[in-house]
């Protein structure tokens, strides 16, 4: 599955500042592995408490979330709440 990956700006160090990159994976976990191959160090950053938004849905623990071909995946910081 080829998907478009969008990184919130705090996650762009390993991509040299690129906000949007292409990568592959049938699940978000596989996608992260692939991203780590392409951009060493990105995997650690993405596994350390990051959520994704896919089709407008915020998913807090996305490792096994399946991905469709052409999906737009947004990595964002994990959130916490108050009441």
């Amino acid at each position: 599955m080829a998907v478009s990956v969008h990184l919130s700006s705090n996650l762009r160090g390993p991509t040299g500042g690129l906000a949007e990159v292409e990568a592959e994976g049938a699940t978000v976990g596989a996608l992260i592995d692939d991203l780590d191959q392409r951009y060493p160090g990105l995997g650690d950053a993405l596994r350390a408490g990051v959520s994704v938004v896919i089709d407008g849905l915020l998913i807090a623990h996305p490792e096994y979330e399946p991905l469709a071909d052409g999906a737009q995946v947004y990595f964002v910081p994990q959130t916490a709440g108050g009441s």
Binding site: L7, G56, I59, A80, G82, S83
Partner: protein, 753 residues
């Protein structure tokens, strides 16, 4: 109520039945944590540090142990050692200090005795020798080059280049989009402003309390009030080094939390004392302890620069945010960074946020953590821009408000959101154009909170008579039992009062995350709906058996199984009829729903506030208040309104009065409701709550969390109203009479603008 989109017509969702736990709560019978007593129970008291920062040289408990009635004394060394890097290191050493105390009120030991007086006397007899260290009490002190470092292991996360020396900065967050310099170059007007705010307390009326009963089998039962008893269980297990199965947590009624009861303070101490003494131990904090040792929300220093074009288009924003998180790493700055520019289309932006540690109590979440403060800064600056440009403050917001498809500052496009609808609801309210009296001013402000999902579980059990029990793992902190019952009623087609909503203990229902992030009605509601939908399938199957029909020919309509097949007429079967025959059709009727909820929809709110300012004394009175908020779908509108109104009151208190005051040694000077003044009934007017309903596409009923967003706009709404009344911009919280008066005087008397 403003309904913005056609929605399905519901029979029960959106109605206002009397809540199920109401009777117990108006008759004094409801059991809050401090109301529980066990036979043979001891009373536990915490020994707390009088110093804001000190090394513990030694602790001598021998005298205390020999005192009358004393059954157990514990200190930090009685718990398994924890090292930095441990997942819950901060929580562990916050609950009981090990080698160092980090704030005044930090627990260093605990005592259990037959009576509270005996325990108090023994606590006073615990001898702790301290090596007092210089305290770091402000952001400036924390960041000073020669500042004492609170944690020798604290290397700033997110630092670029990576940190080589420990410091008091736990974390740096950076977000950016577009080209900042180019953005400002396009601007016709640029302003830059600085703000300071002080820590405030959640101010729940019920102090923390628990009872723990540890048996000789090494298992313990904890009764406590918390926002999440599964979290109490796991945190307590971690701190004690116990297996989770040794701990059962039974939730008591909770007397307010607002985020402050998402963490633990007393429970592991009570368990350890109980294990040592072999008796149940009850611990109840005093209000003084609540103030000194629990919960404040961060204080901040904020600097924001905004650029706008003459037609009102925002083009650039630059934010530098510093949040104190008390003595341990916390998420204040991160959350500030994630919320500061989130409500408006600002194509070019940079945010840098620092989380710093100081020698005050460890911060805890407080409703929409961090967001009220960034809103204070941003929304008052928007008013300044509007005035400078000669654009109406409402129009400026409408012009720049984010809507579906617009990119969030995190990059993703927003799904369907209701910000514009909230703005319009206030614009169209009679309050918006009502005349003002002398010395009065009006302020408008908006707020945003992202809300969260997380894990929830629910079990639906049908009873022999056709009524239902719905068990969830979410403590009811403001009417959530009623909303669970309403959603179950809608699904099952029975009256909400034929449903008993129950908050199950850690052994009675599946794992459920803390009630935080406005997630109970959203996520636990989804679990309830899932369980009910499974139940309906089961009911159709049972009815099909009873009718001698195929399940596909049986529908569930209005609480009845209805035959839709072509094999003649068959009488519908009620829930009661099916339950009565359950033994013969397959046994008890029970279904569960457990899920990790995705797609918590962001919440927006828009507030309009009128104040009257006494020009002689600087006293500000809120005289009229209107608040709109997107609830997605209001399951029980009264409790949605209540969440909005409660948020307003807390926000007004934060704006005008509330602050932690420390002396130069870091000792809190106002640890009582007399000196830490929260709003009372005579401080506030009626609060007109407008529920906007832009359904959240991710929830079966369109619910968005409503618990938090309402506290975001009040501070800037009040500040903007004060400006309108006096011509003075107040950029430091609280906007207390003395500050307002100073500003009026500096401005050359009243209405000096």
């Amino acid at each position: 109520m403003t309904v913005t989109e056609p929605k399905p017509s519901y029979k029960y969702v959106g109605t206002r039945p009397v809540r199920h736990d109401g009777l117990e709560k108006v008759t004094g019978r409801a059991r809050f944590a401090a109301d529980l007593n066990m036979s043979g129970q001891l009373h536990g008291i915490v020994v707390r540090s009088p110093h804001a920062h000190a090394r513990i040289v030694s602790i001598d408990t021998s005298e205390a142990e020999a005192m009358p009635g004393v059954k157990a004394v514990i200190i930090g060394d009685d718990f398994p050692a924890v090292e930095p890097g441990h997942r819950q290191y901060d929580m562990c050493i916050n609950v009981i200090a090990r080698d160092k105390v980090l704030y005044e009120g930090h627990a260093v030991a605990a005592v259990a005795a037959s009576t509270r007086d005996q325990a108090q006397a023994a606590a006073a007899a615990v001898k702790v020798e301290y090596d007092v260290l210089p305290a770091v009490l402000t952001i400036d002190q924390a960041l000073a080059p020669d500042a004492p470092v609170l944690h020798a292991h604290m290397m700033t996360a997110g630092a670029n280049p990576p940190a080589e020396e420990p410091s008091n900065i736990s974390n740096i967050t950076r977000f950016s989009g577009g080209e900042l310099d180019a953005g400002f170059a396009e601007a016709d007007l640029v302003i830059e402003r600085e703000f300071t705010t002080q820590p405030v307390h959640q101010g729940y009326i019920e102090p923390h309390a628990c009872v723990a009963d540890t048996g000789q089998d090494g298992h313990t039962t904890i009764w406590c009030s918390s926002q999440g008893h599964f979290n109490v269980r796991s945190s307590t297990a971690t701190l004690l080094g116990w297996e989770t199965t040794r701990i059962r947590v039974i939730p008591a009624e909770i007397g307010g939390g607002f985020g402050g009861k998402t963490t633990i303070y007393l429970e592991p101490l009570a368990v350890a004392l109980s294990a040592k003494a072999g008796r149940p131990v009850k611990m109840v904090m005093t209000r003084d302890e609540v103030f000194r040792a629990t919960g404040p929300a961060p204080g901040t220093k904020l600097r924001i620069k905004l650029g706008v074009q003459s037609d009102g288009n925002l083009v650039a924003g630059d934010a530098y945010l510093i949040y104190t998180n008390g003595a341990y790493a916390g998420p204040g700055g991160l959350l500030g960074a994630m919320t500061v520019f989130e409500s408006y289309k600002i194509p070019n932006f940079e945010v840098e946020a620092l989380d710093v540690v100081i020698n005050t109590a460890r911060s805890a979440a407080y409703r929409a953590p961090a967001a009220p403060l960034t809103a204070y800064a941003l929304e008052t600056m928007l008013d300044e821009l509007a005035e400078e440009l000669g654009i109406d403050a409402m129009d400026l917001r409408l012009k720049n408000a984010v809507a579906e498809g617009d990119p969030s500052t995190m990059g993703f496009p927003f799904a369907r959101i209701g910000f514009v609808e909230c703005l319009e609801a206030v614009r169209d309210h009679p309050h918006f154009t009502a005349p003002l009296g002398p010395n009065q001013g009006r302020g408008l402000a908006a707020g945003y909170w992202f809300n969260i999902g997380e894990s929830s579980s629910a079990t639906v059990n049908l009873n022999e008579d056709g009524t239902a029990t719905v068990v969830t793992g979410s403590p009811d902190i403001g009417g959530s039992r009623a909303s669970m019952a309403l959603m179950a009623a809608e699904e099952l087609g029975i009256d909400p009062h034929d449903i008993r909503p129950v908050v199950g203990d850690t052994e009675a229902v599946g794992f459920t995350d803390i009630t935080e992030g406005s997630r109970a009605t959203f996520a636990t509601g989804m679990a309830v709906v899932e369980a009910c939908r499974k139940m309906v399938v089961e009911l159709r199957g049972r009815a099909a058996k009873m009718m001698g029909a195929d399940i596909d020919d049986v529908d569930w309509v209005d609480g009845q199984a209805v035959y839709t097949g072509s094999d003649g007429d068959k009488d519908p079967l009620s829930m009661a009829a099916i339950c009565a025959k359950a033994k013969r059709t397959g046994g008890p009727l029970t279904a569960t729903g457990s899920l990790e909820a995705h797609g918590a929809g962001p919440g927006f709110a828009v507030h309009l506030c009128d104040v009257e300012v006494d020009q002689e004394t600087g006293v500000v009175r809120v005289v009229r208040y209107t608040a709109s908020q997107d609830a997605g779908t209001a399951i029980h509108p009264s409790y949605v309104e209540g969440q909005i109104q409660g948020g307003v009151a807390q926000g007004v208190g934060w704006a005008l009065n509330e602050e932690y005051i420390y002396d130069s040694d870091g000792v809190m000077e106002n640890p009582s409701f007399l000196d830490y003044r929260v709003p009372v009934a005579s401080d506030l007017p009626m609060i007109d709550a407008i529920i906007v309903e832009v359904p959240n596409p991710a929830h079966p009923y369109g619910v968005r969390g409503v618990g938090e967003t309402g506290i975001v706009p009040p501070i800037p709404a009040v500040a903007n109203a004060i400006y309108d009344a006096t011509g003075c911009r107040l950029r430091d919280l609280p906007m207390s009479p003395i500050r307002v008066l100073e500003a009026i005087t500096a401005n050359g008397g009243s209405n000096g603008s």
